[in-house]
Symmetry: C2
Subunit: 356 residues, 2 copies
């Protein structure tokens, strides 16, 4: 929690006092929620990748670009369709040539400020994720970064866009800049929700059931891991603290989790705590997408993480609160960019043309 948050909270308090508003009946809960979660930023900034309008515009265009995948069918938007809150509704995403991805595609909304990317933290950040996706066998599947760059350079309309986004670079059309541009776009994907209005006294805020759900979310222990402005993404935890997760899900197989990255026994079945913003909209749940209903996912979390058999009414309250995390996708992100034309995709002219 930085200084700016306290300054912001203090400013709000002053504003409320000056406006002559009555003190809020839920002031204690608001204060507690502000401490635990804090204010959602406008952009998930990065000193390594400053967010500029030209970079965001290019990144948004590249986000839709399928011609840089090995079979021409995969773009970022394939596994992260914005109309489905940037998740794809599948247990596990399907990439080029129908290759299955190892885990469920998490939403990329509110996802750029996490400790790492991917469920097991094997990508440093969204830029690293975007870059490696180009050559990832189950994603874009390109044989090399050079091959991906050749595809980009074969679409003449991209050069001016890269040049504007990365001024002064002699050869701006690179996989590295692809990643920086897509990352800059992703860093703008923040979705303010009723919960945020609740924090600063705006509308619609939370109804009484949702407030009770929030209180339960904090007191039961959900907020211990699902903390910060994004409700997660800040730590790794074992999935199945009290009992193995697969005893409660119907996972098709057991996933060793972050152990695959570190080879440390302590990381077996450990995953990054997922961001809960917009969770209502991103079924199915968990790293393997094995659970379709949010109520079930909440009950399972109580059981395997906390050893609690949550009663139906409590599950309902928690889920009602989670609905208050469903936010508004920035309008600019929902505008489909028109991609530059290409003539490179067809097989070309019959050599027999020369035989006329």
């Amino acid at each position: 929690m930085g200084k700016s948050f306290f300054a912001f909270a203090a400013a709000l308090a002053v504003a409320a006092a000056c406006s002559g508003q009555a003190p809020r009946a839920d002031a204690g809960l608001v204060r507690q929620a502000r401490d635990l979660f804090g204010a959602l930023p406008e952009v998930m900034a990065s000193t390594d990748n400053p967010v500029t309008p030209a970079k965001v515009m290019l990144g948004k265009t590249l986000f839709w670009e399928s011609r840089i995948s090995v079979d021409g069918t995969v773009s970022c938007s394939r596994c992260h369709p914005l109309g489905l809150y940037a998740a794809d509704g599948l247990p596990k995403s399907v990439g080029n040539r129908c290759r299955a991805n190892p885990r469920n595609a998490p939403t990329i909304l509110n996802a750029s400020a996490q400790i790492a990317a991917h469920w097991i933290g094997n990508r440093r950040n969204v830029e690293d994720q975007a870059k490696q996706a180009l050559v990832g066998p189950p994603s874009f599947g390109m044989p090399s970064y050079e091959a991906a760059e050749a595809r980009l350079r074969a679409i003449p309309g991209y050069e001016p866009l890269f040049r504007e986004a990365f001024p002064g670079e002699p050869e701006p059309v690179t996989a590295e800049n692809f990643a920086l541009a897509v990352g800059a776009f992703e860093r703008t994907l923040v979705t303010p929700a009723p919960f945020d209005a609740f924090l600063d006294g705006g509308r619609p805020g939370l109804d009484d059931v949702q407030k009770a759900g929030l209180k339960d979310f904090i007191e039961t222990g959900c907020a211990n891991c699902h903390s910060g402005a994004y409700f997660g993404g800040q730590s790794y935890r074992k999935f199945g603290v009290v009992e193995p997760y697969w005893k409660r899900t119907i996972s098709p197989e057991i996933d060793e989790g972050r152990y695959a990255v570190t080879k440390d026994e302590a990381d077996r079945y450990v995953f990054k705590v997922p961001v809960l913003r917009n969770v209502e909209m991103t079924s199915p749940y968990f790293h393997d997408g094995s659970v379709g209903r949010l109520n079930d996912a909440v009950w399972i979390m109580g059981k395997v993480q906390l050893g609690i058999d949550l009663a139906e009414a409590r599950v309902k309250g928690l889920v009602a609160f989670l609905h208050a995390l469903t936010g508004k996708i920035p309008a600019a992100a929902l505008e489909v960019p028109v991609l530059p034309a290409s003539e490179a995709t067809g097989a070309g002219l019959n050599p027999r043309r020369g035989q006329t």
Copy 2:
């Protein structure tokens, strides 16, 4: 050419006269082009499927819906991505479970007023195409219309949208209404281009090379088939009038064309004349997507349809003119709709839950 067109042309002439404009130096070419092609309508209307705002909104939403395909990966937008001018850049589209489609995906822009849908005319219109796509083995791949309807009904947010679009129907969530809604959306996808500005004296219009290209397009015979406001879509023609098309393309196999529909020998190698609007943006070309460069496609057409070996300068002029058919996609169509949430896609809860 209906009465309304002549009324429109006469009104334009009167307007020009009253405004005291000097007569256009290209008045003869304009008049000829108006006669051959006519004005682009605002909407491709249908008496069978009146275009209403509620139907268009629902259709736009359904256009993006992938959860009604057998493997959850196919929506209309998969093969007709709007950012790529509603074609997918592939020689042949790839559908559910990586199944290859038999022919190249044509753009759905300016496509709703053709004599039929699909290259061989085996779909009556865009509504018929949308409906049959649901159960088409290489497209959505659903086992039946009932199964597709069950998927739609499992997403509770759709019922109110269908009810608004189809008022008074006891059960509006049907495959038939899916098709009518998607068709209504497609009927709004008209893209005014510089050529249309040229017809009514607006900007940017055509430059001198493009005017020469238009003249050549008419005089050489291209406009005999690529006629009407959409530059095609109004008739069937043999591909390869003068010599077999596959002598000039590098088609992977020979396609019997409309013969597959009619079993009439006269229809062998016959295809629907494709719409040329936005052709610059929809590489690769022909029913099998076998040619990537537009210049090559134009040269091949001269050779196999007209028996002319078009010189490079003429090809360039014709292509320059075709660029004047690249239009503006309606802004509303480029806004990604947020789809209703669903909890139906996950595998569900482990039955062992009951064993606590």
